[in-house]
């Protein structure tokens, strides 16, 4: 596998530990408190990092703030719907459905860029089916 895929693999491994650490941290506090504390700490660490090792002027986005604000809004709503839905359904079908998002990227690509690649469609749907089985989604629906 090519080295350019390494960052994605490391990112997936980091995200993969989310459920375990979230479960452990929720032994001490509720989900909302953990979430807000996490975001506050991350923002502070990044701010200190930029202050010490980069240029504080980087944070001046006044010329073109819209895309960054939209990015923050997308991330916020992803988080809000994620936690809201998590409280309303079992973890296994929840996770199995959440991993449909690469299929949604495929859909957005086809709508915005008129890109339709049959191999991509096949592999992304096959991968989703694999995730559905691996997370126990099939068993939770049938038994």
């Amino acid at each position: 596998m090519n080295m350019k895929y390494l960052w994605g693999i490391i990112s997936a491994i980091c995200f993969g530990s989310l459920t375990t650490f979230a479960k452990l941290s929720m032994l001490d506090s509720n989900a909302e408190t953990t979430l807000i504390l996490r975001f506050l700490l991350v923002s502070s660490i990044i701010f200190i990092f930029i202050l010490l090792f980069k240029d504080i002027k980087l944070l001046n986005i006044i010329k073109n703030p819209y895309k960054l604000i939209l990015l923050g809004i997308f991330f916020s709503f992803e988080t809000i719907f994620f936690w809201w839905a998590l409280g309303d359904m079992d973890i296994i079908p929840f996770l199995a459905l959440f991993w449909s998002y690469p299929m949604m990227i495929l859909l957005i690509n086809s709508v915005l860029e008129y890109k339709i690649n049959l191999k991509s469609i096949f592999l992304v749907i096959l991968g989703f089916f694999g995730v559905f089985l691996a997370t126990g989604g099939f068993e939770s629906l049938c038994f």
């Binding site: 994605g8 980091c14 459920t19 375990t20 506090s29 980069k54 916020s76 709503f77 998590l86």
Partner: protein, 138 residues
């Protein structure tokens, strides 16, 4: 349950939109992460709520270690490398690589919580591996 399904599909949709938008941004990773989390703090606070000072005070030392692990591994590592990956290979391939996540989650559940895997889950792992081996074709 139906509301939960709608909710999780919206979460997946916003996750896809977030990944696609990241493809077209020129800002440094640290700047993107800073604003992403800064914008999320008030929105999450007002829409999810339920945060009391007493909850924060009652967190034990080991609880703070877990939160710090979430901050460093998931928030900084996960999102930082995710944006780097989107810049290199695009949102779709990065999203497909994320299929590794359940494999990691299940491995940790087996190692830490002593859970076991069924035959169907093993087949699921094999299918994910097949997809990842063929990721160049996406």
């Amino acid at each position: 349950m139906l509301l939960g399904v709608v909710g999780v599909l919206f979460a997946a949709l916003f996750c896809a939109l977030y990944s696609k938008l990241n493809e077209s941004l020129d800002y440094e990773i640290s700047v993107r992460l800073f604003y992403q989390f800064m914008i999320a703090i008030p929105l999450v606070y007002f829409l999810l709520g339920n945060i009391q000072m007493a909850d924060i005070i009652s967190i034990t030392l080991i609880g703070w270690v877990h939160i710090l692990a979430l901050v460093l591994i998931v928030s900084l590592g996960g999102y930082g490398f995710n944006i780097l990956s989107i810049k290199k290979i695009g949102a779709l391939k990065t999203g497909t690589l994320d299929y590794i996540e359940p494999m990691v989650g299940i491995s940790l559940a087996i190692l830490i919580f002593g859970e076991s895997m069924s035959a169907l889950q093993v087949i699921g792992w094999a299918i994910i591996l097949f997809t990842l081996i063929n990721i160049k074709r996406i």
